[in-house]
Symmetry: C2
Subunit: 332 residues, 2 copies
């Protein structure tokens, strides 16, 4: 059969065939193979991190990635930024009747490759099909379990005025890449999504004094910085000129009237470290393939509590609020 039918989501014979011929074949591991109602795995005593994300990106394939890679990297990164080692992934698929089987196959292979790169295993899953017009092609939902590093001391409570804010690389690549693919804007210099698993990069710095991390996805860097100061006794000041932005993202943003600070990223982290540790962490990050453009972009300040300010290129200061409205729907 070359398209997905409602029967593929019935839980009956066709669901089982699909699981065996596609999912088990591509993603096989002893736990998944059991096809039990839950995957059962060993966990060392201590803390676990647990996360879930739905991916509804449109289009399903874009330069630098696709919904499968995104679903793995997104959940891996959510587990890694809280200071855990991502290990187990649960993957649910909601497909629209009539979806080409080839697309599901391609996405599953991409899940396989991304999971391998990130060092995680898909140990359990679910497959649902809805009728034509009841969803748009394919949604992928991943949940993940990570084992918290011991001692894991990633907490916003450790952040203090004077701490430095490091960003791991250029902003806006993912959002612009997806937008370009969706709207077929045909920019001269095509932008690639930065979609990547960041657990390796995080591993390289986590023992070097990292106090807090977050990945600036939907809502962009500006929203993430606002999440960090929300309800806190400090503010954040960044220097806009120090935020890395690639030439093509900058050009696309100027053309479309977007602010790169609000565009989604899928392979970046914001790290808070004590001032004394900043250079060491920065250097380490720059040695990693996903951190080579890392930069210190600002610091935690005592002034304007709960707010984020940015020094603009012409020397002024502007307040960065959270993203309001929906700049780019279905970006992840």
């Amino acid at each position: 059969m070359d398209t997905i039918t409602l029967a593929h989501g019935s839980g009956g014979k066709l669901t089982h065939d699909l699981i065996e011929k596609l999912f088990l074949k591509e993603l096989s591991n002893p736990t998944l193979k059991e096809l039990a109602d839950s995957g059962v795995v060993n966990i060392p005593k201590g803390k676990i991190a647990f996360s879930i994300d739905s991916f509804v990106v449109k289009p399903l394939f874009f330069p630098g990635g696709d919904i499968g890679k995104l679903a793995i990297c997104g959940t891996v990164n959510d587990l890694a930024v809280v200071g855990s080692t991502p290990q187990h992934i649960a993957c649910a698929i909601i497909a629209e009747e009539g979806l080409k089987m080839d697309i599901l196959r391609k996405v599953t292979r991409s899940i396989k490759v991304a999971a391998k790169a990130a060092g995680v295993k898909v140990i359990t899953g679910d497959m649902k099909v809805v009728a034509k017009g009841e969803c748009d092609g394919l949604f992928v939902i991943t949940a993940g379990v990570g084992v918290a590093k011991n001692p894991s001391r990633i907490s916003i409570d450790r952040v203090k005025p004077g701490d430095k804010i490091i960003l791991s690389g250029t902003v806006g690549d993912h959002g612009i890449a997806v937008l370009e693919a969706r709207e077929r804007l045909g920019f001269q210099a095509s932008v690639k999504s930065d979609c990547a698993p960041l657990n390796g990069l995080i591993d390289s710095i986590i023992t070097k004094g990292v106090k807090f991390m977050r990945d600036p996805t939907r809502g962009g860097l500006a929203t993430t910085l606002n999440e960090m100061v929300k309800g806190a006794g400090f503010g954040i000041e960044i220097d806009e000129g120090k935020v890395p932005v690639s030439g093509s993202v900058k050009a696309a943003c100027e053309l479309l009237g977007f602010d790169p600070l609000y565009i989604a990223n899928e392979g970046k982290i914001v790290v808070v470290v004590a001032s004394k540790d900043a250079d060491r962490v920065l250097k380490t990050m720059r040695r990693h393939r996903y951190g080579k453009d890392a930069a210190i972009i600002g610091e935690v300040v005592t002034g304007h509590r709960g707010k984020v300010y940015s020094k603009t290129s012409i020397g002024g200061m502007r307040m960065l609020t959270m993203l309001t409205g929906a700049q780019l729907p279905r970006i992840c």
Copy 2:
């Protein structure tokens, strides 16, 4: 705002407002309140069970439950049948632009009530919104983590010919209830979904010799029994006359030409026990509110390996295969 807009899924201000005013208000607990990228919780050393399920049931509300209750109970039951104590839930929502806020509120309250009844906490979540026409109202995806009971010995490998098959109650209630609500069939005696958390019932029997369990959801009892014998060195024989079916489900199935053995359940378990333990387990189940109609419906046999046979009411034998086709789409 009384409807969901794309901006509610942007990850920006409106997403945060919705999280605070609805999800945190209804589901609050210390881990969820952190609003971190992952929920971090303590786990004792040993095994965990990990499960995920998407819920796309249509309509969202039906006699005996709704998509929120279903999403909690479904995942709780998947964790419990493998012999774990369900503890932590991750909940992702995909909403269609224009969804009434009241519906989301009602579903969230239902999640709250169901989680409390099952003794689990929603510790992390995600909210996405897609444009009108890109999904059908509301999909809810839950993942769960359970702590495996020690020693947990729930395994199909322990099942042997001679073992008894116990079913915890009537079949077909969920599927018929949803179908009736969807198609407004207006049966005289309305059928209520059996949607329920089964961890309490399972707790009451798990130390009494239970070898294997499964919850017969999509695909119904017949499909679940087939999953149990698949690739195994034994078969299963059931006595159709012993499978509890309520009068109204029986009547609806006769009218519509459905076989109750293939209709979905959301509050039932199939349990395999050694013959010597069967009566004790049955009695214990019958004392529980979700097991009062429990019955021994058949046994594991050496003959017809990998197959399920059923004694019909007129004394014949028929082979029960897995569900083929899609009898009732969007039943869960």
